[in-house]
Symmetry: C2
Subunit: 352 residues, 2 copies
């Protein structure tokens, strides 16, 4: 693995300064390092110098005219600069490249064999402690990855979105009513739920249930989540149907079949805020409408929403809930799902 | 606020390549942008070009000899490139700078007025949704900040470490035994706990308690956590002592006074793995020893540990627990504290 470490350092000088007063001090640090300097013409946009050193080190020094100084240091993982990564050991080691002491943020690790950066739904950059890609497959519908995290166990990632980790019982509990429901003897329909987490929790209460669309790989690599429920397609109180859920829901509507609980674990609310044009929203509305139509008059519909920060997408979803052919009431709950690194909204809806 | 956005793009070419076969395609994108190009001599460490454009844009293109291509784009926040940040809107806008479509990671925001990056204890880079510094003070002991997060509420940050957010009832519950204890009528000693969270939870159970060392600012800005418990130094069942805890503990030892519960909320386990030399470890051992000495024979000692990933620091702590003058047993629990963005270990210890 020949990753590149990228350190950043930003100094906000309180007042806009002439670069002449700041640059020399910083330059003297780099001049000691046998780096080849290039000063660039920025057309009046502050000072910019690049330094190229042995081992392929690159330093970019900018002094912006409004007083921000940015320093970038890129070096190969096996460059001895990178050995200093453990902050607590810094004082005990010979520090060849003294500027490194000023880099307070962890380095960006670029081009590593296993990608550590999986942004949150609300668009923040977060680094995971993943050390291995356990499983990867491109299905007809999506890219499926299972990554190993030191603290969250295996994490299912669908099309780049963190979907569920073995640490995330809180997700399964939230989408099944957080212990407020009694599933014994009840008819339950799970849409999605391919990781087996919901099924594994509910079978403990002996309902009669139907589920569908299993994701290969989870059976093997998410066992802390699914237990042995995905090993066979039929258990005492459940059956797993490998078919598309829209035709199935339509069939149930036609037959007049109803369920005490419908749990929609298919997908989060689309982030796009164009519900009239977006096919994701169209799919969501279709599923929602069919789900409510197969819901027993006293039944409950559970689903995940999205990041609590995506207020616009969430209120668009609530608008859709108000437009269903069969009127519903709803409530929502904000839950901390460990591996998400953001607060997540869950919905419960029921017929008025 | 004149922050700089820093986009990164990394392409791992499966086999080491001659830069001649990759560079032209990427160059053609930048050539369209009226950028001034500089090609650098890297002494055989691959291809390196920098491009400086109008508005102070900077592009760094590297092709490493082992097949990793890295692209950096830095631009001012008000540069219209940065307008494209909302991924879902990209298709609907005129994309002047087409390369931006390939930057999949959120930009690093550099030099913003409010810092968004507060690394985890296990050294990962994470971005918070903070939009305001609500309070800041340098006390004699530490730098105290209270930041406002859209999803976590106000967050107390001590010396750069995320300490507690208003969302973090899970922390308070964990360090008080997660609902397994009955505090009614009990003598409780809280060491630290300056945010008032533990006090606010325990007074609901009407114990008799002592606490100390309040952090100014929490009273005002962490009210969802502390309620009104910090408004006065003495309540029906508590007193807040503004004094150093070591002399106080020593006095209690001398008097032979004991407590049913000692809750140490002073500090996490030091990350440094040199417990013999480090003054933080020395402080920790002193507090631990005194705490156990004032613990009732049937009493319990609660404390936080650290990130579950810091296995070495945690096992050093457990070693210390084994070396106390009064032998103890212990158990630990891993808990998800919402604003920490990492799994956290809590300890319970009791006299053998």
């Amino acid at each position: 693995d020949m990753a590149v470490r990228h350190y950043t350092l930003d100094i906000n000088l309180s007042t806009p300064v002439d670069s002449a007063s700041v640059v020399p001090g910083l330059l003297s640090i780099f001049h000691e390092q046998e780096l080849t300097e290039t000063i660039h013409d920025t057309n009046g946009h502050g000072y910019l110098a690049t330094f190229v050193g042995k081992n392929g080190r690159l330093v970019v020094l900018r002094v912006h005219s409004h007083g921000l100084v940015t320093v970038d240091l890129q070096c190969h993982e096996d460059d001895n600069i990178a050995q200093l990564d453990n902050v607590s050991d810094q004082n005990e080691k010979h520090v060849e490249f003294s500027i490194l002491l000023y880099f307070k943020l962890p380095a960006l690790v670029r081009g590593a064999k296993v990608d550590r950066y999986w942004p949150t739904a609300d668009g923040r950059l977060v680094e995971y402690d993943v050390d291995e890609v356990v499983y990867e497959e491109d299905s007809a519908y999506q890219n499926i990855k299972i990554l190993h995290s030191r603290q969250y166990g295996n994490i299912l990632v669908l099309d780049g979105d963190v979907n569920l980790a073995e640490s995330d019982l809180a997700y399964t509990q939230a989408i099944t009513g957080n212990g407020r429901e009694n599933y014994a003897g009840k008819e339950v329909l799970i849409l999605g739920g391919g990781d087996g987490g919901i099924l594994a929790e509910l079978v403990k209460q002996k309902p009669k249930m139907v589920t569908m669309k299993v994701i290969d790989g989870c059976k093997m690599y998410m066992r802390r989540t699914c237990g042995n429920t995905l090993d066979t397609l039929r258990g005492d109180c459940y059956q797993i149907l490998i078919e598309d859920c829209v035709p199935l829901l339509k069939k149930y509507v036609q037959e007049g079949r109803t369920f005490d609980y419908v749990i929609n674990d298919l997908t989060a609310i689309p982030i796009s805020t164009s519900p009239e044009e977006d096919s994701m929203w169209e799919f969501l509305r279709l599923i929602l409408d069919l789900s409510v139509r197969v819901l027993h008059p006293k039944g409950k519909y559970f689903t995940q929403g999205n990041s609590v920060n995506l207020k616009e997408a969430l209120s668009l979803y609530e608008e859709q809930l108000g437009k269903l052919s069969c009127p519903v009431d709803f409530q929502k709950e904000v839950v901390c799902v460990p591996s998400y690194l953001e607060q997540w909204v869950f919905y419960t809806a029921w017929k008025k």
